[in-house]
């Protein structure tokens, strides 16, 4: 057990981080696993991520690129503690605001305002703090009177706007952004980029994206994730051109989603 404190200029440290999902053939196998897991294994392991070694310095902006199913989102989920790593070490230094699957965490029947109250509390804000920031959140989101309408009436763009706005006002030390701006329009995207640009001066940023331009504008460093491993890490421009060359050659045949591919087998 290594419990030494990490240097205070490191925001995120991953060492040998890995995550395996348990794939069950039948739903009932899950219960069998809970009851008799000590004797037999009722699932197949699927390693989404493994051997992730990554240090993110405080104030750094790191981009993560890779094809669908490479493990980018799982990596973010591990970083913010939504799911627990199967192996490896993870240290996170500071308050996190994750912007994952934008706005899908909202409850449709609740008004935007009520969703903000809950989402703010999840991010660790006190009630008074949220109340104080509500006007600013509404203004940044720019959805006008819809703030008091049920979220189920929102378009996906409006949800994304509100979700981003909450996290932007959460006083986070670390922001994790998962392809957040894909649904926003150009004006809002510009606003978010400007915000992230400003946020970089005080906090740490991890951005997942398919869009090279977005990453190029923001990131100091880019991590290329493929088949659950880090394929390369380097300067933004170098990595983007490497990645583009590689993807041009690949055929989109879905072979990487196979359960039995060697890349996702349990480590020997």
């Amino acid at each position: 057990m290594s419990s030494e404190t990490m240097p205070s200029d490191i925001a995120i440290r991953c060492a040998g981080l890995g995550k395996a999902y348990q794939l069950y053939a039948k739903r009932t196998d899950r219960l069998k696993q809970v009851a008799f897991g000590g004797f037999r294994r009722f699932y197949q392991e699927y390693w989404v991520l493994r051997d992730i070694d990554l240090d993110v310095a405080r104030g750094e902006c790191v981009g993560i690129i890779g094809p669908n199913g490479a493990g980018k989102t799982t990596l973010l989920q591990l970083l913010c503690g939504i799911t627990r790593p199967t192996c490896g070490e993870l240290q996170v230094n500071g308050r996190i605001a994750p912007i994952l699957a934008l706005g899908s965490g909202f409850v449709g029947d609740m008004s935007g305002r009520d969703n903000v109250l809950i989402a703010g509390a999840i991010l660790g804000l006190r009630r008074a703090e949220i109340a104080q920031r509500l006007p600013a959140i509404g203004e940044f989101a720019g959805i006008g009177p819809f703030l008091d309408q049920p979220v189920r009436l929102y378009s996906s763009g409006m949800r994304a706007r509100l979700a981003f706005s909450i996290c932007a006002h959460a006083d986070a030390d670390i922001m994790l952004v998962d392809e957040a701006l894909a649904v926003g329009d150009a004006v809002f995207r510009e606003k978010c980029l400007r915000f992230m640009e400003a946020f970089r001066r005080v906090g740490t940023l991890v951005v997942v994206s398919h869009e090279g331009d977005q990453i190029a504008a923001l990131c100091d460093r880019v991590v290329w994730v493929d088949d659950g491993r880090i394929r390369a890490v380097g300067e933004t421009a170098d990595m983007l051109s490497l990645y583009r060359d590689a993807t041009r050659q690949d055929e989109d045949d879905g072979s990487r989603f196979r359960f039995d591919s060697a890349a996702h087998a349990p480590p020997s």
Partner: protein, 297 residues
Amino acid sequence: MSEASLQQQIPTREAASVRGRSSRSVRHYDGAVWAPVTIGWRYRELILAVLRRQLADRFSGSLFGWGWAIAAPLITLAIYTVTFASALRLPIASARGGTMNYALSTFAGLIIFNLCAELCYRAPLLLHEHSSYIKTSIFPSETLAWTAVLRSLTYAGISLAVMLVFELAINWTLPVTVLLLPFLVIPMTLLLLGFVWCLSALGAFTRDIAYLMITIVPLLMFATPVFYRIADIPPTFRALEYLNPMAVEIDMARNILIDGVLPPLWLYAAFVGTALVVCRGGYAVFERYKGILVDVI
């Protein structure tokens, strides 16, 4: 894979207080004995926010609002009183205080039974109900048990207030022992928390737990002294009742709310002990599966 490499590092206090603030939203895996209570305190803002929302949800959508919360127990109580006053022959031990007191005693039993039953039905589905929070945000899922228990306690509290007003109306006095109620409510809360943690974790893996509850809870009603008192049953079976924490709670609640006597100390001590063990045990079960819950719901 060594044991050491399996555990996730928790940020230390020094490391966590970046810019002078402790990092509250980073998940803690708290293994301390009193963890069930400390997580309730640590996430109090979130628990209250969700609770406030759920209570508003239940009542603000209706025209009558909170009136329903008071009307429902009032009607139940009225029907009991009329029925018992006119139609039924009462069990011996319960009949001692007269019909009105029997209605009260039944109502007290029902409040506690309904409290437990509601949680038994809800707990297995609790995580499914909030899956969008758990899957897409850094929502601490262990707080859901707190929210659910506090919500049910709120409803029970409303019914209890109606009951006490009714008791005051018929007897013109309340026993002093009513003031001891918090000493019953606190262990009861811990007991329920433990059950909800355990049931919700298991319920996340399989829907069978929810079906099982639907089957056994109505049966439990007969095994629980709602319409009778523990003293009404033959001594041979009485020992069995004491194994049912719901029965013990109901009996003790009647002692202090209606009879104005203290419950036997050994019974109370046993109840508190059970509550502590169940609470810590239920939390341990939940903690054990928490990391993979998000992958299965």
